[in-house]
Structure formats: structure tokens, C-alpha cells
């Protein structure tokens, strides 16, 4: 196992010890070690713990991507976390919710980065983020129909009287 993955595993063990069954097993693959949050409602607590615990210090959120798991009927987010000025470990966290009307707790109060990234995930996939301070679309216009990055997205014919497809 490469050293970087071992570090991630060690970080995961600390989280597992604190939250037990709320997090799933760690997937220690060499390209992107990650774990999944099994109990979605605990996500904000886990995030705060990951940021503030002196052994973890995940103070930097590199990326938050929305994902559409169409076969499982779920939407999700993937967060890539690491620490600047602290330990050199990195880990990814996955949080999933139902495809229709699903919601995920917002972590924009933990990392400010998440604010716009969550808005973008909502814009593209349509999951709601509970407790988000500014829950609006960010890239598409406010009156756009549908969520463009869903796998079954059909583009609208016209927008304000302008033809959309080629």
C-alpha cells in the first residue's frame, strides 16, 4: 500500500473511531482513497470534526463535485479534503441522497468553499442542501428548466423565445 494511502487510512480510522457506523468502510484504492457517509444526517458533524480535530485538521476543501448515480436512483457529492500547514494526508468523502427530492446537509458553514460548490451541484443535479445560506442556481439562469448534468436530461426547446438546440 503506498504511503499516501496509508495516511488516508490512518485519518479514516480516527473518524471511524469517533462516528462508528455512521461512516462506511474505507475504500483504500491508490488513486483516490475515500469513505462514504452512511448516515447522511451526520455529515455536517463529521465535517466539523474533520476540520477541527487536532489530529486531522482537514482545513482545505479542494473540490466538491455532484454525481448522478442513475442505476442506484441516487444523487451524491464527492468532497476532496486535505490540510494546508497540517498533516499531509488527503481523503475523499462521498455523501448520497435519493434522486427525487433528496437532501444533504450543507457544510458551507464549515468550509466557505462549499458555498458556491453546493450551489453548483444543486444547479446541475437538483439535490437540496439543508441549511445552505443562499440556495439558488449559480450558472444557469434562474428560470432554466431541468438539471443539465443528470443522465436523463432533455434540453428545452426554447428559452425566452430563442431556439436552444442547433
Amino acid at each position: 500500500m503506498p504511503a499516501a494511502v496509508q495516511q488516508s487510512k490512518a485519518a479514516y480510522d480516527i473518524i471511524r473511531e469517533r462516528f462508528g457506523e455512521a461512516v462506511s468502510e474505507c475504500d483504500a484504492n491508490p488513486t483516490m482513497p475515500f469513505f462514504e457517509v452512511a448516515d447522511t444526517s451526520k455529515w455536517a458533524d463529521i465535517a466539523l470534526f474533520m476540520r477541527d480535530d487536532s489530529r486531522l485538521k482537514f482545513n482545505y476543501m479542494a473540490c466538491l463535485s455532484g454525481v448522478d448515480y442513475m442505476e442506484q436512483g441516487q444523487l451524491g457529492i464527492v468532497c476532496n479534503l486535505e490540510s494546508i500547514g497540517g498533516p499531509t494526508h488527503k481523503i475523499a468523502v462521498k455523501v448520497k441522497c435519493a434522486r427525487d427530492g433528496g437532501s444533504i446537509p450543507s457544510v458551507s458553514c464549515v468550509w466557505h468553499t462549499a458555498n458556491w460548490h453546493e450551489r453548483e451541484a444543486y444547479d446541475m443535479y437538483g439535490m437540496t442542501f439543508e441549511g445552505h445560506p443562499d440556495h439558488r442556481r449559480i450558472l444557469c439562469p434562474e428560470d432554466w428548466t431541468g438539471f443539465p448534468l443528470r443522465k436523463d436530461y432533455q434540453v428545452q426547446e426554447t428559452y425566452h423565445g430563442i431556439k436552444v438546440p442547433y
Partner: protein, 400 residues
Amino acid sequence: MQELGKADLNSTRIIPQGDNRVVIEKDLDTEYMVLSMGPQHPSTHGVLRLECITDGEVVVEAEPYLGYLHRCFEKYCEKVDYPGIVPYTDRMDYLAGINNEMAFCITVEKLLDIEIPRRVEFIRVITAELNRIASHLVAIGTYGIDLGAFTPFLFCFRDREHILNLLEWISGARMLYNYVWIGGLSYDVPADFKKRVDEFVTYFKPKVVELYQLLTTNEIFVKRTKGIGIMPADVAINYGWSGPMLRGSGVDWDLRRNDPYSVYPELDFKVALPDPKFCEIGDSLARHLVRAIEIDESLKIIEQCLDKMPEVDGFDPRAAIPKKIRPKAGEVYGRAENPRGELGFYIQSDGKSTKPLRCKARSSCFVNLSAMKDLSKGQLIPDLVAIIGSIDIVLGEVDR
């Protein structure tokens, strides 16, 4: 930074306190005015729209509105195959095409787990650093225009043309190159590439000093930028800032050193940090200084690479490219240090298809710009322009 103090007369006074600070005293409640800046505005660097709530000359809050250049990059990633995505990455941060291609290619190479020839790595680093200089020249030149200095813009674009000529010579395009391919390059460099890059470096070194004298130490410029838009280091990290923005706040963090890729571990360069004697850590001037220092560092890197680059007879840069690019099932997050910060790609592959299942671009400008609301609080409107310029946004990357 301004402090809004209490006062007893019915007028607003701006009292200079020396050292670029002003105290704004205001008494009667004035009516807030909403001022829409952009999407067509000469100093928003593209199609950014800021909705400023102003109290006289003071900005109470500036809310950025994005999406005026949302070109569906992530949709395209799911629709075209891996090599086909490379030209689209060019069009994200169109000032630094090669850096974008490189970030994307090293991410896919991580997923494919393939070895890259050493010569290819050196060529990639040389072109990427050349492109970094070109990008910083645009950033510095347009920053000058924003603050009323037109001449540095002309100087910067004159020198930028030299770099564009070099890159055009090796790739065939002036701006959007499609030069770095997954596993290799589209072409090897021409025969006397080393000589011409060396000539450029010799030509350009005095020009950097000239630019420094012309703009960076210019008193008006310093007055306009020093102490404006200060961002403390911990808030900057929490906002996810990266690149020159984060280093401007005094955080010693550079992906080329902290998460090394390509041949950067073999090269000797220092991470650009602002000089506290000259600026306040975290202000607009500090961010400008970091960019100016980075030009010097990039020149150093180019010189070292020219020395170390191995010469191979009959070198084929496409030899290591796999016949069919179909990574095994898995996920990866790869990144590289762009002129504007960390450009990351999250790629999900299902192992069966030649197209990614999901590809998300983490763009540095998007994240850097998200702090705009905090940075603009209580600033004067002209200072708002100085702050936007110092963030150095490229809307193509913000909106993707």
C-alpha cells in the same frame, strides 16, 4: 480598509489617515443604491456581473452573478472521449491553455497508470512555464489598465507576443494549443527550440526589471493597491484559495512543491511570497507582487529544464500514447498548479467506456472569486475595481 465611525453632522466625510487608510464618517441614514456592474464593463475582466449595494461611495455588499459564459464543459466531458476533452480544457482558462491540458492529462495518466518519457515531461514543463509567464503578463497588464496605467499593458502584450510566437511555432496555434496529449505530445519540438527559448529568456530578463520599475514600484499604483482587500491567511484557506492568491496571504503553499507532479521535484525554484516590507500581507499589492516574482521563478525553471532536457534521436512523442484510452473503473482527483491556482479534475471511469462517467473541473478562479462578497465589504467603488483586478479571474474558467 475603512471603518465606519459615528458622527454628528449631516454629511459624509472621507478623512485620509495617511498610509492609504481613510475613515469615513457618516451620520444620517442614507438610502442604499443598487449599482449593477457588468456583465459588460471594462474592468470586470469578462462577463462577470456584480450587484453592488452602495451607500454613497462605499460598497455595503457586492454580490457576484456568474454563468454568463457557462459553456457546458462538464456535459461535453460525458459526451466526447478522453483525447477529445483536451481541446475543451484549453477553452476553460484560455490564457493558460498548456497548463490546463497538463492538469487534465496528468489526471488521466494517474488513472491509466502509465509511464511518460522524460523528454516529454521536460517539454511539458517548459511550455507550461512559458504559458504561465504569458498569463501573468496579461494579468499584470490588465491590472495596470484597471488602475489607470495604459503603458504597462502595451509593454506586457509586446512581450507576450514573443511567447505566443514560440508556442505557435511548436504547436501551430496562438492561444488554444491542443499540444499536450494524454501520454505524450502532439508533436516533438522543432530542431533549434532550445536556442530560441534561450534567446527569449535572455531578451526577457531585463524586461521584467523594466516592468518592475514601471508598474510595481510606481507610487500611484502602490497607493491604489496597498492595504486594499486584505485577506487573512486562515480565512483564505477556509475559502479554498490557491495559487498566487493564497501565497499573497502569506501561506507557503505551491502544488509544484507540496504535491509534486511531472519533473518539478528535480528543479530548484522558490515559492513566491510577498515581501512584508513592501506591502501588507494579504492585500491586493501582495497578490500582484507574487505574480511578479513568479515570472522570475518561471524563467529560472525554464533555464534549468533547457539544461536538463535529454536529446533523443528520432524521438516520437506519441509513442507512449495508448492505442485506446479506456481507464479501468475507478475515481481520481488530480491537479496542477495553474497561473491562477489549483486546477483539479475529478474523473470517474466505469472501465467499459472511452468516455468519462463524470468529469468535474475544480477551477481556481471560481473558488477565488467566491470570497468577493467578504472582500468588498466597506470598500470604495474604485477600490472594488482594484480588488477584482487582483483576483485575476478568467470567466471561461469561472463558469466553465
